[in-house]
């Protein structure tokens, strides 16, 4: 299991992570200095 996981991690998760961060970080880690609020519109109530 472990080698397969490592393989997936390095060859799938890592490049995917790099690529997606270039476009948009789902974890919104970068601080928006000029933002006046960190509230976002609610996503509750929408189906998955």
């Amino acid at each position: 299991m472990a080698p397969l996981l490592l393989f997936t991690y390095l060859l799938v998760a890592t490049p995917l992570g790099w690529a997606s961060r270039l476009v948009h970080d789902p974890l919104t880690r970068r601080r928006r200095r000029r933002a006046t609020t960190y509230w976002t519109a609610s996503s509750e109530g929408r189906g998955t």
Binding site: G17, W18, Y38, S42, T48
Partner: protein
């Protein structure tokens, strides 16, 4: 024909089941009380069975089962986190992914719930409906509240993505307004400090809050500058470079240690001024954020009442600050504000969707029945147990029992009080409680050492007759679930004599007429008791008041350290015999320690109970 909905929360922390009939909570319990494993996260098989038994129904009589969060959406968040932190989080990846993906993994939580229900043979399993984590919290906060409409605020660690949500509740509908998403989480910020101060995440938060009054918030500015950017509207953004919970299985690491000048306190190690000040600082920031969020809730909804849930709503000091701010006319906090309450909330949300009404609105009361939603034991059951074990007892009529207990309490005795239905939620509220005299300056220490086998830096909580609460506490409203902290009233404060005490010895300094329940800053975690919320408890407080002039009792949960609160007569008797409780009142039976046979156990029970 009445309609039943069964709610379930499971597989993370503190599993629970709840049954709702026509929109009214009728039974609810945490699984830990049955399995005797604290915060048991496993499927709540026994709690489900109890809920159905309480109403004498089978699963076939239940219209729907509601699960308290959306496993697929939660998995997307977990995946986004694993991908988003690559290549630095392989350990987390290796441990987390299999847990989610295996046949009985978290991704298939709903199928697992179905399978578990089927194998329990409780009747035909109805459809299982999924509600979102924060919707479950919001529903648990609003639907049972006494208000026709209210602002609703849910703040916790994390469910799927949301960590903070704001809602507008009206009649039987909840409208989502805004949210703050993972990894930015007030609950996780508090947990990070809990971890850093050497306490257990998910349960030690309460201790950190109790530690805060000893310290000065000298790190609060540093927290605001480096860890969390707080806007005036209470919304916040955290700097993830200082936290480890995205990458690993711990909360904090090197960067956090560097910021606060050294490694974290080792669990059970000595408490120093640094932990006092860290606790005071994160508490200070938490209160600021909660006040900001409450202000936004007021502005966005225009409502004059607020409902709270989510783990952070167990921070009764912050709740007290919201009440004191006067932003709202009244605040109502769900007693099971943590994830156990999600079971109840999910069931309520589904019930309202299916057309249930909120019949209690307008009565001035909430729909929680004083949180007494757990199992009760009748006198016949108790007698059977006592006789089968040849336990010496006195069977008394209820008035005499209350009178004898009040006399014993006034005489400085410590009494185990086991009456009626067990509480739902983390606090003992006078159904499974250990009681004492709050006027006795030595009571805090005595109760800790005799029962919990530890010194504690926290005072106990007072239960007070609601009608006389204002004579003892600066409380603007009722606090039926011990979820508001208030200052002890000036009339009850006494001049403090200089003793030279420092650190946790400060708790021994007498500051009020009720020292056992007064914290070092003069505050107390109050429970107000009314005749309708808990009749037996109210009678006892009244009898104690008649004897002593004091309408307050010390209340602590009926358990020893690290163990769940007792559920059954057997649990209660075992705890009674293992500790130095003087007297046990269980239903209409009174047991004196001096009359009991010697207690012996084959194994060392203390070694079997994990540290809390």
């Amino acid at each position: 024909m009445s309609e039943l909905v069964l709610g379930i929360s499971a597989f993370y922390h503190d599993s629970a089941a709840a049954l709702v009939r026509d929109g009214v909570p009728v039974a609810a319990a945490q699984e830990e009380r049955f399995t005797r494993k604290r915060h048991d996260p496993s499927f709540p098989a026994q709690a489900v069975r109890y809920c159905l038994d309480e109403l004498g129904v089978s699963l076939g009589d239940v219209a729907a089962v509601a699960y308290y969060e959306d496993p697929r959406l939660k998995f997307r968040r977990v995946l986004a986190t694993l991908v988003g932190t690559a290549p630095t989080g392989f350990t987390s990846f290796r441990e987390t992914l299999p847990r989610w993906l295996r046949a009985d993994g978290k991704l298939r939580a709903v199928q697992v719930v179905r399978r578990e229900l089927e194998s329990a043979e409780l009747g035909t399993v109805p459809e299982i409906v999924v509600r979102r984590h924060h919707e479950s919290h919001a529903a648990s906060a609003f639907f049972p509240s006494p208000y026709r409409s209210a602002a609703v605020l849910c703040v916790d660690g994390v469910g799927e993505w949301a960590t903070t949500t704001l809602w507008h509740g009206r009649d039987t509908a909840l409208r989502p307004l805004a949210e703050i998403r993972f990894p930015h989480s007030l609950g996780l910020l508090y947990s990070a400090f809990t971890y850093f101060c050497g306490f257990k995440v998910d349960s030690g938060e309460y201790k950190l809050m109790g530690l805060a009054p000893y310290g000065r918030p000298r790190y609060a500015d540093l927290i605001r500058e480096r860890l969390i950017d707080v806007k005036p509207d209470g919304s916040f953004h955290m700097d993830m470079r200082y936290f480890e919970y995205l990458r690993g299985q711990v909360m904090t690491g090197r960067a956090f240690e560097k910021l606060f000048g050294g490694p974290r306190r080792t669990p059970e190690g000595p408490l120093t001024e640094r932990e006092f000040d860290l606790a005071a600082s994160v508490q200070d920031v938490t209160e600021e954020v909660m006040l900001g969020l409450a202000r936004t809730a007021r502005e966005r909804t225009g409502e004059s009442t607020l409902c709270l849930a989510g783990g952070v709503a167990l921070n009764c000091v912050a709740n007290g600050k919201i009440v004191d701010s006067g932003l709202f006319d009244e605040v109502w906090v769900q007693p099971a504000a943590g994830d156990a309450g999600g079971a109840l909330g999910a069931a309520l949300a589904v019930a309202m969707d299916r057309g249930a009404a909120r019949g209690h609105v307008g009565s001035g009361r909430d729909a929680m029945s004083g949180a007494l939603l757990g199992p009760a034991f009748g006198d016949a059951q108790i007698a059977d147990y006592l006789r089968s074990r040849r336990i010496p007892y006195h069977r008394l009529d209820p008035e005499r029992l209350v009178d004898d207990v009040a006399a014993a309490l006034a005489d400085g005795k410590i009494v185990g009080w086991f009456q009626d239905r067990m509480e739902f939620g983390p606090r003992a509220l006078g159904a499974r409680s250990i009681l004492g005299d709050p006027r006795d300056p030595a009571m805090q220490s005595a109760m800790n050492l005799k029962i919990k086998f530890r010194e504690s830096f926290r005072p106990f909580a007072p239960a007070v007759l609601a009608a006389e609460a204002k004579d003892y506490f600066d409380l603007r409203q009722e606090s039926p679930y011990m979820l508001l902290v208030a200052q002890v009233a000036a009339a009850q404060q006494v001049p403090v004599t200089e003793t030279g005490a420092t650190g946790i010895d400060l708790l021994r300094v007498r500051r009020s007429t009720i020292p056992a329940v007064t914290h070092v800053d003069g505050s107390a975690r109050v429970q107000t008791v009314t005749p309708d919320s808990n009749p037996a408890y109210h009678k006892l407080l009244t009898a104690f008041r008649a004897r002593t002039g004091c309408p307050v009792l010390v209340n602590t949960s009926f358990n020893v350290r690290g163990e769940p609160i007792v559920r059954s007569p057997h649990d209660a008797y075992t705890c009674f015999m293992r500790t130095n409780i003087d007297m046990l009142a269980i239903g209409n039976f009174l047991l004196h320690k001096s009359e009991q046979p010697a207690w012996s156990e084959e194994s060392d029970w203390r070694a079997e109970i994990p540290l809390d």
